[in-house]
Assembly symmetry: C2
Homo-oligomer: 337 residues x 2
Amino acid sequence: MKVVLDAMGGDFAPRVPVLGAVQAAKEFNTSVILVGNEKKVKEELSRLDYPKELIEVVHAEDAVPMEEQPSKAIKRRNSSLHVGLNLVKSKEADAFVSAGNTGAVMAVALFTVGRLKGVDRPAISAILPNLKGHTFLLDVGANVDCKPHHLLQFAVMGSAYAKYVLGDENPRVGLLNVGEEEGKGNELTKEAYKLLKRAREKGLNFVGNAEGRDIYSGDFEVIVCDGFVGNVCLKLSESLAKILAKILKEEIERHFISRIGAITLKPAIKSFKRRIDYAEWGGAPLLGIKAPVIISHGSSNAKAIKNAIRTAGQFVESDLNAHIEKEIEKYGKANGD
Amino acid sequence: MKVVLDAMGGDFAPRVPVLGAVQAAKEFNTSVILVGNEKKVKEELSRLDYPKELIEVVHAEDAVPMEEQPSKAIKRRNSSLHVGLNLVKSKEADAFVSAGNTGAVMAVALFTVGRLKGVDRPAISAILPNLKGHTFLLDVGANVDCKPHHLLQFAVMGSAYAKYVLGDENPRVGLLNVGEEEGKGNELTKEAYKLLKRAREKGLNFVGNAEGRDIYSGDFEVIVCDGFVGNVCLKLSESLAKILAKILKEEIERHFISRIGAITLKPAIKSFKRRIDYAEWGGAPLLGIKAPVIISHGSSNAKAIKNAIRTAGQFVESDLNAHIEKEIEKYGKANGD
């Protein structure tokens, strides 16, 4: 298996992606193709000790900046995104990982590799930790103004990912809504509920509406929503976690006696951070594209990149896309079209 | 000034509302009319020492259950909601406070007291603490499927509340969206942005798009959104804060050395809790109704009820509704209709 890594993606490129690739090659024995400015990438590699047979460098003249509009990114045909995704398209590699501009990765992936059969809109997902395990939330920003059947397809793709990649036996799928009862919601969720109910009759484990609190309740393995709502939820969660930690720190510093306590508290704080650390989870799969594509956080560290490469490998090995096509065929038609 | 308190609203009624009313009367010298089952309310009062001249009891035969559909709640004409809100309508009292069923309070308030002139949809708001102060978020659940001009009106009402009740000199108003730049968003927010921009030309301090992370960034005093999104954000925040605290507790218990630290940490944890405690903030104003209405959390304790009564008093004293009517007249027409 070969994973293409966008060496120019993320806030600390190419240093951090190169480091992550080397760690992944060493730890998982995965072949990685680093795509980017050859000179810069080789310079980074030259400082590291790594398994030469597992790391390859492919040159790309250009790179898409983090703030670039997706429509402009598509036109940069020599970017690391284009060059890298074309390697996947031509089957020279099996999967693609980038910590770059999310919108640009998605646009270039659609343009080069294309959509899976039966999928109308690809979705970006997030794996959020909770007290019991994780919740797979999608869409978190690829699509605003979704139609009901998009949410149905997200449910099918998310459920397949949870089952075949994350190993949840019979993932419980929820529809993000403002109340638990059937009949609650806006126009979109009321209609989506009906489609999901019909898919349930065919075997999808749709268990009903999920509320905002359920994103972290552990009562659902998969929650689907419009990308506008998902994006707000994701950014809200990240900031709230940081702010609560900051408030706690401020309070500790205000109380002298607590300052002493804080020292002895360090092991717990460290474990705490590890449990809520996105880097452990290894990137967000972009679902509905004809090849495995994983998007990492722009501020990813080497561990996050390494774990994203591992995720890409699991995506490939699980043959997820074949499962998704089959299940979209089975459930996606609950739509009637 | 007289505030009506729904003695039958909330998870611990009538005990907790009665206790909160007594505390408010003692602390703020506010007259409170307790509306509910006279026998039960007087039984609770008989156990307390309170200023007799400030507490009045008005009987209501019926009470709306916490899970009742708003459409059914409207038909219970002898409920504490109906009786209490009618006291406000007839000017026998100045404001209404309930920890009851949010949807029911709003429906009965609309039915009895009615909408403010120029306001198409009342909005429920939430006051969320952040590192620098607070963010006033609306709508958090009264309206799903909002139109752009509803968001404009929420901005006008929220801005007035922040200014005249919360004392923010020139509240910065943000539009909740998926990106900072103008032109980002779904159909609703793109159109709402245009209306808000026009209102800015007339003097509204609209500073642009806010992202999910800005709900707690402290860069906005007011953030407006569709009630679907606001509801999800609010419930997500409440649960995430609880879960992070629980994870931290679990980690502390796992590490012996940290357990010792935890004891000395108690003062900091206590301050921390106080800073993020909704009870300190005293309820969510329902804006756009012809009289001040404050909705408290169903699980409110006496302090939360007391603070909600204080909030209701501030709402009355600030003459907020007159300001809202004037500002809706000024800005609400940016809409063109």
